[in-house]
Symmetry: C2
Subunit: 223 residues, 2 copies
């Protein structure tokens, strides 16, 4: 692995707040939105546009790449290893029905971060070693993932227990309907990292919600 | 380039009839359908499922791969260089809003065939050298490409002229609403290769339509 791969994984190890967003629902200008939430403390930003063609993704990526660079954050592309490489992203995130981790790893090489969604304790336990981090959820049902049943907090407790006893050392992010209210129970269940969509993209004051989420992750009460 | 890349391009140079199909609209059993049309003379088969996730594509690919192998045909994956590599396809086909040819080439390496859609004489003339073959059209409006205006026969005549005077040496396929009737004017305009979807997938007797299309390409009247 190169120094670039090491630097990316070092950033990943310190990441707490992970924003998943499309390029269009961002409030106002995308540049301004990203600067605002990255300044407020988002560590990782993922471009997720399930319906977009690669050409559209490639047109949006430079805005994400530049914003992440300005703030020392990581930029991850959802679903498309080929686009992640072409766009110079820091990594790619795949789901259980995307390119399997071994194939995604082969496509991106060793220097990019690879993330994987898991939706049950069994999927979490079976997650291939090619993945650098895991997402667990959706804890709550969410319109962002229609048709995907909520896992509840059990998977969060499971991941937390695996981390505590050393069975799993990779960073993991709780995801799914987590906002400045629901984050409290997620943290109580053992999560130290969360990934969110609407808690930031639909917030009246995104930067303020970022601060609140980070405070909750630090164990302090949300303002 | 390896011998595998050479063999694929040699097959491409001899190809006349190119079937683009999804995995679900094939009549009856997919295996049986593919065997039938490949026996009748289809030279290239492309799996095109714009809405499918990579995991679904990967589940369908082995059926296409095996059928193509049984008949010495080429198997191409639409849009996804990463899936084409992972599935052991012979190549990938990209459109003007997919991964650009240079990036797609970087993702698949030199041994895979790369195809590119062009929708005007200008796009045809500007097609990057990374593409091994070109599609020109849609000659007629087609429900397969909603919102894409028909090019008419002008682009076919243009491609034919470029081929005749040596300005362009790569194989090109006329595409878009070509069936056993409309192929006659396309051949008259200079096409020696065509790509079709519905002319085969929606034919009452797919193998018979394949034979008719091939006869037309050979300049003989359609039965």
């Amino acid at each position: 692995m190169s120094r670039q791969g090491d630097a990316r994984r070092e950033r990943l190890s310190r990441a707490r707040l992970y924003l998943v967003t499309d390029a269009r629902s961002a409030q106002g200008d995308l540049d301004t939105f990203l600067d605002s939430v990255l300044t407020a403390g988002v560590d990782i930003v993922q471009l997720r546009e399930k319906e977009a063609e690669a050409g559209d993704l490639l047109r949006w990526c430079p805005t994400f790449r530049a914003a992440a660079d300005r703030h020392g954050a990581l930029f991850i592309v959802n679903d498309r290893p080929d686009v992640a490489v072409a766009a110079g992203a820091d990594g790619v995130h795949v789901g259980q029905n995307d390119l399997p981790p071994a194939m995604a790893r082969a496509a991106v090489g060793d220097d990019l971060i690879l993330g994987l969604s898991t939706h049950s304790a069994a999927e979490y336990d079976a997650s291939p070693s090619e993945a650098d981090y895991l997402c667990v959820g959706p804890v709550h049902a969410t319109p962002t993932k229609p048709g995907r049943p909520a896992t509840g907090l059990g998977i969060v407790r499971h991941a937390s227990a695996c981390e505590r006893d050393g069975a799993e050392t990779r960073p993991w992010f709780a995801i799914g309907g987590i906002d400045t209210e629901t984050i409290l129970e997620v943290v109580e269940a053992g999560a130290t990292r969360v990934a969110v969509v609407r808690a930031i993209t639909e917030s009246p004051i995104p930067a303020s919600s970022v601060s609140d989420l980070i405070e909750a992750l630090q164990g302090r009460p949300v303002s």
